[in-house]
Amino acid sequence: MPEQSNDYRVVVFGAGGVGKSSLVLRFVKGTFRESYIPTIEDTYRQVISCNKNICTLQITDTTGSHQFPAMQRLSISKGHAFILVYSCTSRQSLEELRPIWEVIRETKGGANELASIPIMLVGNKCDETENREVSAAEGEAEAKMWGCHFMETSAKTNHNVKELFAELLNLEKNRNISLQLEKKGQLKGTRKLKEKCSVM
């Protein structure tokens, strides 16, 4: 069981090339790149507010192109919320999510506990209408079957990206988490000071 720590950990899963890193990078840095660089594992941190305190949102971008079962188990067992990404242009990528979903279900225990964990099924690349293989309705139906929430996004056109993360955090009922942060200016100030360390 993940302890109630000062971190809120979100893990992003999905097959290779569906746009996990693109989604995360669009959200964290606001950027998008056309080229494909396979991820091994990357973690991004962002300060958010949680129960009126600041806490760290930790987004783990996992690999889709390698098989690291041990690391997958670890990130599932440590994760507080999950984003399962497939590409609207590939039915195969939706099917590949099923085994991951199974592992999450096994690791996180019974149906009751599972229901309290924020999980979002995400159909990315929804801008590519010509190559679409999975309709929004199909995605929605799949999510219903799994008992999780659903959203279609496009990292490329920045469609629903921020909404995805906001909605995911909204689903967390054990704490009051939001992306909004008061005193943002102050925090930035202290950080800048720290970076100005000199020779020692």
Binding site: A70, K196, C197, V199
Partner: protein, 583 residues
């Protein structure tokens, strides 16, 4: 080359790039000593920094001592430059104080005239009665039997005015002319001399009891305005060094020892008052008696730091002070730590590079302070146990040890530790290959409480290997036992991917690494540079600039393969077992 370095240094000083931290004082000092043109730029900067901090001044002075010993003839121009710098640093601290006190009082008088603050004029009234020249007839600096070995005779904090200000929460400025640097200099000198005395004793028992006795005597002189320079980022004064917690470390002919210092955090090293000496009250003496630990049991490496801290705090007469902390340091003499310092700088730099390039490799550089060319302080890595100790004490394989310590193979604890282990092993494998770190027996490899693998002892790097046996021919040490902890093909694959990414990232920032080594090499007699300029060239070759990323992958596969199947690693472990008893 020189003009380039020159450019780098002015740039660093004025702007401080993202690698500013790793440039390090040692690099600056080394450039100062060996490159005259750089010296002219750097001296004013150093002096300016020195004028603001006693700690910085002392560090400069020690490094100047350590690095200028390589210059052969004392008549050398550079040598005279560096000794001149040292004299100026010391002069700074006797002159600036009196100057500052004058300017301060005139300033406050000005202010007083303007705002007619009553309390201000009162203070100044008192100040005029305080003798401005420092005189201490019974000055016993450096004599630890006196009980005032680290007392420079400064009265500023004990005077009426000083006490008043402290009560009111105002900062007291030392205005007398007491030598500000002396207490700390004497303290460090005493620590080093203790190590030298210990080295002359033969048996471990004799060393241990001597250390105990010396520290007990030393304690009579504490609290004092002295500190561990390793941790000067947290300004503190040492109040006590519990003698029974200290220990002599295993070493053949030298006697490094570890001390645990009880400290109290202060706002400012020089301008904060001292904690009053705790009289040995009934409560205190009783708790001392209650300690049934023999010195041997007391030094238990596997004891978690938090537990040790709590235990020592409980038995300490100063433990009730809120800002009480425990800090540890290894004191070593007889060894040139400049090579360790170089390794520490390189490790810090590599970690920075990997952080910037987002490669999850984990190193654990530890702080080194060179006090001269044959003594220094080392930061001990807390909560670790060496692979040698694991093997000796638990007699199980590393994988079984992991299961014992962190839980079942599929538990979160084990998986987290395993991931840390893979990431740190990959990092140190790359370091061992790039820097050609040798003498990799299991006594020099530690395991942290979170599963990180940590290498220590960088006495043999670059072009140097122990006794020049040329024994360890494999690129790095990777035993089957270590691979067994990886658990399977997938983590082994992850290990290799990490190494590849780490090498690509390091290659991208190769210039920074090479220039650091080049600067530290210039004019240096360190044994790791005995191949001369070829050392740097060989290092450069190990980055394989001419290979594509695909070719690099093949190279990594080859390196890993030959390391696993290396007979020489096994032979070297056997050799260590027969000669030093290290498993």
């Amino acid at each position: 080359m020189r003009t380039m370095d020159y450019g780098v240094s002015t740039y660093d000083l004025n702007k401080g790039d993202c690698f500013g931290l790793t440039i390090g004082l040692a690099k600056l000092i080394s450039m100062c000593i060996h490159m005259q043109d750089v010296a002219q730029v750097v001296h004013p900067y150093l002096l300016q920094r020195c004028s603001k901090s006693v700690d910085f001044s002392l560090k400069c002075a020690w490094l100047l001592d350590a690095y200028s010993c390589d210059i052969s003839s004392p008549s050398n121009l550079n040598h005279s430059l560096s000794s001149k710098l040292k004299t100026r640093i010391f002069a700074l601290h006797s002159r600036s104080m009196s100057k500052r006190s004058h300017s301060r009082s005139s300033e406050s008088q000005d202010c007083d005239r303007k705002c007619h603050a009553r309390s201000r004029s009162d203070t100044i009234g008192i100040q005029q009665h305080v003798p401005s020249t420092y005189s201490s007839p019974q000055c016993s600096l450096g004599d630890i039997t006196s009980g005032h070995a680290f007392d420079n005779g400064c009265f500023c904090f004990d005077s009426c005015e000083g006490r008043m200000s402290q009560v009111c929460g105002r900062q007291v400025q030392c205005t007398c002319n007491a030598p500000r640097l002396s207490p700390q200099l004497e303290f460090i000198r005493v620590l080093i001399n203790m190590s030298k005395t210990l080295a002359s004793l033969r048996s471990k028992e004799a060393k241990t009891s001597r250390l105990l006795a010396d520290l007990t005597t030393l304690n009579h002189n504490l609290p004092a305005r002295v500190w561990l320079p390793l941790y000067s980022d947290q300004p503190h004064h040492i109040v006590r060094i519990p003698p029974s917690a200290a220990a002599v470390l295993n070493s053949k002919d030298k006697a490094p020892y570890i001390i645990y210092c009880e400290v109290v955090l202060v706002e400012d090293l020089t301008n904060s008052g001292l904690i009053a000496k705790a009289s040995s009250s009934l409560r205190h003496s009783r708790s001392e008696d209650n300690m049934m630990y023999s010195p041997r049991n007391y030094y238990n490496v596997t004891e978690p730091w938090s537990k040790k801290e709590a235990r020592i705090r409980q038995s300490s007469p100063y433990g009730h002070i809120p800002s009480w902390r425990l800090m540890a340091a290894i004191v070593k003499s007889g060894d040139d730590l400049r090579q360790e310092l170089l390794a520490s700088q390189l490790l810090t730099l590599l970690q920075k590079i990997w952080d910037i390039e987002r490669v999850p490799l984990i190193l654990h550089p530890y702080k080194i302070l060179c006090l001269s060319n044959d003594s220094g302080l080392i930061e001990p890595i807390l909560n670790t146990v060496s692979l040698h100790q694991i093997k000796k004490n638990s007699q199980v394989s590393l994988l079984e040890y992991f299961i014992q310590e962190f839980g079942d193979i599929n538990s979160e604890g084990f998986l987290a530790a395993q991931k840390n282990f893979v990431q740190s092993t990959a990092a140190y494998s790359l370091v061992c290959y790039l820097l050609q770190v040798k003498d990799r027996h299991n006594g020099n490899i530690l395991l942290s409480g979170e599963g990180h693998l940590i290498h220590i002892d960088f006495g043999f790097i670059l072009s140097l290997s122990p006794r020049n046996l040329g024994f360890e021919t494999s690129p790095f040490k990777l035993t089957l036992e270590v691979v067994e902890v990886f658990g399977g093909v997938d983590m082994f694959c992850y290990f290799k991917i990490l190494m590849l990414q780490g090498l690509i990232a390091a290659r991208k920032h190769m210039d920074k690494i090479l220039s650091l080594v080049e600067i530290m090499r210039s004019g240096s007699q360190l044994p790791c540079f005995k191949s001369g300029a070829a050392t740097v060239q060989n290092l450069k070759n190990r980055f394989h600039m001419n290979l594509t990323e695909e070719q690099l992958q093949v190279l990594i596969d080859k390196l890993v393969d030959s390391s696993i199947h290396s007979l020489s690693t096994k032979l070297y472990d056997g050799f260590q077992y027969y000669t030093n008893g290290i498993l």
